[in-house]
Point group: D2
Chain length 142, copies 4
């Protein structure tokens, strides 16, 4: 699935996840953007930790879909996230996924999050998704 297909599909299955967009998808990499709004902020104007977690989870899920197609039942089994810097105020967040493994049962990827316009890594996450057997039996693994 390309970026447009992913956004259409994700808007359909996650109607509540507003503000997240896939910007580029291809090969082992994917980039997503969070258009930061008030609901993502802590007092003081910083994007909250749970929002960054959600961005990382969204981006990794999109990366899995981009590789194996529409698999609504893929689920996060574990995640590790380090918060390293405050995001820049008033800036969108960008998440870059690097898929490290796409096996029959588990997908593992790294996500780097930074503020738009800056190279400094704000947060780093690694996530593991379990891929349901149906996806594999149906030839979903492209």
């Amino acid at each position: 699935m390309n970026a447009q297909d992913l956004n259409d599909y994700l808007a359909e299955v996650f109607p509540e996840a507003t503000g997240y967009t896939v910007e580029a998808a291809g090969g082992d990499d994917l980039r997503a953007r969070l258009s930061v709004g008030d609901r993502h902020l802590r007092p003081g104007g910083t994007v909250s930790g749970p929002t960054m977690f959600e961005l990382a989870d969204f981006a990794m899920y999109a990366a899995v879909l981009s590789r194996i197609g529409r698999v609504p039942l893929a689920v996060t089994t574990s995640a590790n996230i380090d918060f390293m810097r405050k995001p820049a105020a008033g800036r969108d967040l960008l998440a870059s996924v690097r898929m490290l493994k796409l096996g029959r049962v588990l997908a593992v990827g790294d996500v780097m999050i930074r503020s738009d316009g800056s190279d400094a890594i704000v947060a780093r996450a690694s996530l593991t998704y379990a891929i349901p057997p149906d996806a594999r039996e149906n030839g979903g693994l492209a």
Copy 2:
């Protein structure tokens, strides 16, 4: 700070974090509840992973506050979470924190999340918070 003080303070500093309540605080342990609402659900009615992350983060933050008092600047530096079972549909989630370390610089705790009415662990998280120097200099560490 006891449970009531914590809820008053958290409602003030996190007005957007609705649905989360500290139920019991004391010693090395703390229990929090998420009153599950539509905004916490994925299609299908399951509480989303980011919501469980937010619950774990909320509970750990409350546990730190319960020990060192009002420290608005304590921040999560890292978190690890394993998602093990689907939460029961239509049930609140309960989070139990066990504080493992409360040092001068870092606080480390474990959080077990389960559905109300069940003993099965739905998710397990460990979180590390950095405690700002001011909290220590001001004698905040009780």
Copy 3:
């Protein structure tokens, strides 16, 4: 498998892992001991981080075996470990495993490590093991 069976089996398949012993196994819990020797120490006499990782991994593997029998191909897929205190000098380390999930594909457990004679947690680990399909097909899951 009980503690004696586990030790016999582990000595056979991991002849190089000397110093590690299962002390008690039953239900969802297991306790292992590391008889600390020079090869486990950093200069200064502290048990090294990699040694504590090895102890946690050994204990979790033993806990999986205690539940599903001899499964040489179960492998660690991910681990998270927090080091919180220096171990006491000249003391063995004890690891307590709590099995949180034992599914068809993944086993997840928590391990708490402390110095013999102390209740303070020295390190906390969570580990995920992948269970090979054969173990399940052969009815290994007791």
Copy 4:
């Protein structure tokens, strides 16, 4: 410190850590090699998980030293590792560190491990080191 200085220093403070060598150090990156020997292997000839953990820990420690100089008391506070593929038999392992944050209190880095001669990532780790106050007060932070 450059690669030669690091190896001299590490051999002095970790005489038991044989087989590990820093190959290149500079900027935000560092590469280390494990010359695989029998003591690193599981039955079947695969490098063990604890050995890969030790390699990641060694490489990250070297990367911290390369930036702040001789700081014997820097300690690992947390680590997360995903094991994704079996290492190739009979091959050395290479670890590449990317330093993501080098703050006054904490250093955070990512380590990718692969078999020599292959691009596939065998294991991925993220590690956090606590930097002792002395290192900072002495102007150690270059």
